[in-house]
C-alpha cells in the first residue's frame, strides 16, 4: 500500500478564468475489469496479467485548500472519452472561487494507493521490487481553452505539464531507491525506514523504484551522470547497460540537441516484473533483459536507446501522446533506427547472431507491413482499429516513413531539421503541424504533399516493375512511308509490300528495343528512381514523379536490357513490397535453388530424427 500526501501549487498560465481542476487517477485503471483500460485491453498488457489478488487502485481520502476548505465532497468522476461510468481514472474538482489568469492555487491531497501485482502496464510491485509510476493524483493539462485530461486507455501513454517536484519517499532502510530528478537528502528514521528526498525541475512526471536487491553501476558522459540499477542475476550485464546508456546520451546530444538534465537512471526490472520494463519517465527509464542475453542480440541496447530517446520526444517536447501518439513513439522509433544503424550497423544492427543479421529498420518495416492501412497515423490512441494498428501507426510506420523522408532530403538536412525542432519546441507541447512546419522550413520546400499522404491517409506506397523486355530490331516490315513518298520508283506496287529495308544494315551492330513498364500499385505518390541495367554493365538511371499510375520507358540500344529496378538504393523503406521492385528479362533460379537446397537439408534433418521424434521437431518448427 502507498500512503501519500500531495501538495500541488498550480499556476493558471492560460488567459481564461478557471472554475475547476481535473486530475488523473491512473491506478484506478487496475481497480477491476470494468475500467476502460481493462475493457480495451482484455486484461492483458504486453503479455502481462494482474494476479488474482493483485488489483491496484487509488483512493483520494481528502482534498483541501490551504485555507482549510474541504473540497472532497465536490469530487466528481468524469469519463470524457467513452462515457464508461465504471471508469474512475479522471475526476473534476470544482473550485470554490474561480481562478483568474496568472493566479495560482494550492491543493492538499491525502491519498492511498495500491500498486498492481505483478507490475502491469508499467507500474506495480513484485515481492521486494517496486516500480512506482502513475501513482499520485496528477493534474491534467489546461490547453487550448479547456482541460485535456483523458481517461487511461490500453493503447495510450500520457500527456502532462511541466513542474517542479519535491518528493519524499519512505522505504525500508536497506532499500536502494532510484527516482526522477536528483537525490537531495537521505534520512534514516531510526525505525528501520529511511526517507529519500528527491528534487526535479522542469519535468512533467515523477516515477520511482526501490528494491533491496539493486546493484548499482555508475558512470558519466557529456556531463550526464548515469546510474544503472541492476538485478543481482543480471549484474554481469551492468557494464553493457552503462555503455548503452552512454551511447544513447552521446548520440542524442550530438545529433538532436542538449539534454538539459544532470542525470539519467536506468532500471533493470526484476524477474517476473516485465510489466514495468521498457518504459520512460523523466530522467528515469526501465530496460529489460534476461540472464544469458547474447551480445549479438542487441535488445538491451535497443531498449535503452529507445527509452532514453523518449526523454527528448516525450519529456523535453512533451507532445500529447493521447491524441498524437506518433509524435513521441514514432519520432523516437525513427531516431532509434538511425542511432542503432550508426552505432551497430550497417548490417545486423539489431541482431547479429549465428550468421543471422537483422536491422532495426527491417523489424520496424515488418511490423508496419502487416498493418499498413488499417488507420491513418493521425488518430487518438484509443481510436485505432486495434493494438496492432496502434503499434504500427504510432511506432513502426512513422519510423519507416521518417527514414524515407530522410533518404529523400539527405541525412544532414534531416538532422538539422530535427535539431531545429527540438530547439524551437522544447517544453512547449508541439503538435504535428508544428513538426511538419519545421521540416518544411529547414528543407526549404513544401513537403505537405508527403505529410498529408503519410500522416492523414492510409495510402499504401508500392512501386512495381511490371514488365521488362528486350528484342532485336531486325527489319521494317510493311510500307515505308518516307521512302514511298520520296521515291515512287522504289519498288512498291499497289496492294503489295516489299520485305523492307534492314535498319541494321549488314556489317552494322545489332540494335535492341528494350522496355521497362513500372506501375504504382498504391495510392501513395512519391518520386522514385528507376535503373535499367544493360548487357556490358551499362546502367541508365531515370526519375519518375510517381504521379501517374504507370510509366513506360523505351530504349533503343546496341545492348540488350538485363533488368530493371525501381528504387535501386532502397531509399524508400515505406515501399511495402521490395520483391516486386525489380525484374530481370531472363530470370535466374540460382537464388531460389540455393535457398531450396538449404531448406531441403533442414527438412531431411528434421525427418531423420529417430522414431516419431520428427513429429516433435515438426510441432516445434
Amino acid at each position: 500500500m502507498l500512503h501519500g500526501n500531495e501538495t500541488l501549487k498550480w499556476f493558471n498560465k492560460s488567459g481564461d478564468t478557471i472554475t475547476e481542476l481535473q486530475f488523473h487517477l491512473y491506478l484506478n485503471a487496475f481497480r477491476n475489469h470494468k475500467s476502460t483500460f481493462m475493457k480495451e485491453s482484455g486484461g492483458v498488457s504486453r503479455g502481462n496479467k494482474i494476479d488474482k489478488d493483485g488489483w491496484g487502485f487509488i483512493e483520494v481520502n481528502k482534498i483541501t485548500l490551504t485555507s482549510g476548505d474541504d473540497l472532497t465532497g465536490g469530487m466528481e468522476f468524469i469519463q470524457p472519452d467513452d462515457g464508461n461510468p465504471d471508469d474512475k481514472t479522471v475526476f473534476r474538482l470544482p473550485l470554490p472561487q474561480p481562478l483568474k489568469p496568472n493566479d495560482s492555487i494550492i491543493v492538499h491531497i491525502d491519498f492511498t494507493g495500491k500498486l498492481p501485482q505483478p507490475p502491469f502496464a508499467r507500474t506495480g510491485a513484485k515481492k521486494e521490487y517496486f516500480f512506482v509510476a502513475q501513482w499520485f493524483p496528477k493534474i491534467g493539462v489546461y490547453i487550448d481553452g479547456k482541460w485535456n485530461c483523458h481517461q487511461f486507455h490500453a493503447n495510450s501513454e500520457f500527456f502532462a505539464d511541466y513542474g517542479v517536484y519535491n518528493v519524499r519517499m519512505t522505504v525500508p532502510e536497506k532499500n536502494i531507491l532510484g527516482a526522477t530528478g536528483l537525490e537531495v537528502e537521505k534520512k534514516n528514521n531510526g525505525d528501520g525506514t529511511a526517507t529519500h528526498f528527491y528534487h526535479a525541475e522542469d519535468v512533467h512526471d515523477f516515477a520511482w523504484t526501490t528494491s533491496p536487491e539493486f546493484i548499482e553501476f555508475k558512470d558519466n558522459t557529456q556531463d550526464v551522470d548515469i546510474r544503472v540499477l541492476m538485478q543481482p542475476d543480471h549484474a554481469d550485464q551492468g557494464p553493457r547497460h552503462v555503455e548503452a546508456a552512454k551511447a544513447a546520451v552521446e548520440y542524442f546530444q550530438n545529433w538532436y540537441g542538449d539534454y538539459p538534465f544532470p542525470n539519467l537512471t536506468v532500471v533493470d526490472p526484476r524477474r517476473g516484473a516485465g510489466g514495468s520494463g521498457g518504459m520512460e519517465y523523466p530522467t528515469l527509464i526501465t530496460a529489460g533483459t534476461s540472464y544469458g542475453m547474447p551480445e549479438g542480440l542487441r535488445a538491451v541496447e535497443l531498449v535503452i536507446i529507445h527509452e532514453f530517446g523518449h526523454n527528448f520526444w516525450y519529456h523535453l517536447l512533451a507532445s500529447n501522446e493521447f491524441e498524437e501518439s506518433w509524435m513521441d513513439e514514432g519520432i523516437n522509433t525513427y531516431t532509434e533506427i538511425q542511432i542503432m544503424n550508426d552505432k551497430y550497423g550497417p548490417i545486423g544492427d539489431a541482431i547479429n547472431l549465428l550468421g543471422i543479421k537483422i536491422n532495426d529498420l527491417q523489424f520496424q518495416r515488418g511490423q508496419y507491413a502487416f498493418f499498413p492501412d488499417f488507420d491513418p497515423i493521425m488518430r487518438k490512441a484509443w481510436e485505432f482499429y486495434g493494438g496492432n494498428s496502434y503499434g504500427a501507426n504510432s511506432y513502426a510506420k512513422p519510423g519507416v516513413l521518417l527514414t524515407t523522408l530522410q533518404n529523400h532530403l539527405g541525412r544532414e538536412k534531416m538532422q538539422q531539421a530535427m535539431r531545429t525542432y527540438v530547439e524551437r519546441w522544447r517544453f512547449k507541447h508541439p503538435k504535428s503541424r508544428d513538426f511538419f512546419n519545421v521540416i518544411n522550413e529547414v528543407a526549404g520546400e513544401d513537403l505537405n504533399w508527403f505529410f498529408d499522404q503519410a500522416f492523414y491517409s492510409n495510402a499504401i506506397l508500392d512501386y512495381s516493375v511490371d514488365r521488362v523486355f528486350s528484342r532485336e530490331i531486325k527489319k521494317v516490315e510493311g510500307y515505308d512511308f518516307t521512302l514511298s513518298v520520296a521515291r515512287p520508283d522504289s519498288g512498291m506496287t499497289n496492294g503489295t509490300s516489299h520485305s523492307g529495308d534492314s535498319i541494321a544494315a549488314k556489317g552494322k551492330p545489332k540494335m535492341y528495343e528494350s522496355g521497362v513498364d513500372v506501375r504504382r500499385l498504391g495510392a501513395f505518390k512519391f518520386p522514385v528512381e528507376i535503373v535499367a541495367t544493360f548487357e556490358g554493365g551499362e546502367k541508365v538511371r531515370e526519375k519518375w514523379d510517381g504521379q501517374d499510375f504507370w510509366k513506360k520507358i523505351r530504349y533503343t540500344k546496341p545492348n540488350k536490357l538485363v533488368s530493371a529496378t525501381v528504387d535501386p538504393d532502397n531509399k524508400i523503406p515505406l515501399d511495402l513490397n521490395y520483391t516486386n521492385n525489380s525484374k530481370a528479362v531472363e530470370g535466374s533460379s540460382l537464388g531460389v535453388n540455393k535457398l531450396s537446397v538449404r531448406w531441403l537439408f533442414w527438412m531431411q534433418f528434421l525427418l531423420d530424427q529417430p522414431e516419431f521424434m520428427n513429429l516433435f521437431s515438426a510441432i516445434n518448427f
Binding site: N581, S588, V592
Partner: protein, 308 residues
Amino acid sequence: MILHSLKSGFAQVRANKRMVAVFYLANLCFGLLLLLPLRSILKSFAGNSQMAAKLGGPLDMDFLIEFFKYTDGVVPAFMGLILIVPAANWLFTLLLSGGAFATFAGGEKYNAAFFWGNSAKYFGRFVRLTLWSLPVFAVLFCLQYLETGVQRLIFGSDPYQNLTYWGGWIKIGLRQIGFLLFAMILDYARIHAVLTDERKMRTSLLQGLKFVFGNFLYTFGLALLLLLVGAVALVIYNPIANSLAAPNALIVIMLFVWQQVYMVFRTLLRLTTYASQLDLYHQRAGEPAPAAITSTGEQPMEGLAPAA
C-alpha cells in the same frame, strides 16, 4: 564390448550399401515432398526479381517478411504438410527398420525380397510396439521435469534467472536423454521381436526395457558414443556448409553435395546403430540364432531355421 559391437555393426553396414541407399533415398524423397511445394511458392513469389537472385546470399529479412505477408494463404497449407509428411516418413522408416533388423540379424547381405518381405512382416508388429510404448515415452518425457522439481525444492518458486537459465539447459539435456532412452528401448524391443519372432509386442517392449536397464552401461554407452559421433559430424558439417554461401551455381551444387554427404553419413550412423545394438544384444543376452526370419513369411531363408 561396445567397441566390438561398433566395429561389427559398421562392418555389417558396409556390407549392405544398398540398404543404406534405400534409407537415404527414402529420407531424400520425403524431404523433397516437403520441399517442392515450398520451392514452387518461393519461385512463383520471387519470380524474376533481383530479390530472387539475392536469395543465393544470406537470408534477407525484408524478403522473409514479404514472403510471409504475400503468401499467407499458402503457409497454413504448408504447415499441414509439415505434419503429414513427417508422420508418413516415420511410418515408412518404421517399415524399413523391420527389413534392416532382419537383414542384420541374419547376417545377410542386402537382398530386396528378403529386406522388403521382412519389412512387411514386422511393420504391423512395430506399429503395435510403438503404441504400447507410448506410456514409456510419456514417463521418459517427464524425466525433464525432475529439474523443475529439484529446482523448486531447493530454490523455491521464484529462483534467480541464472538458476532457471542453467536449469533450462539441464532440462533440455534430460529431455534428450529421455528421447535417447526411448529410442534405445524401442530398438532393443524390435531386436527382441525379430530375433524371437515374438508376436506379443508388450512382451518385446518389456524385454527391451529389461535389456536397456539391465545392461545400462553398455546400452547407454553405445548409444552415447554413436550420438557423439553424430554430434562431431554436425560440428564438422556446419561451418563448411555455412561457408558455401556465394550466389554461384557451382557453390550451390557443392552445397547440395556436401549436405547429401552429411545425410548419407547420418543414414550410415543410424544403420550402424541398429547393427551394433543387435551385436550387443547377442553378446549380452546370449540369444540363440533367429527363430524365423523369412522374406514373405512362407519361404524360410537359407541358413535360417524354419518358423516353429
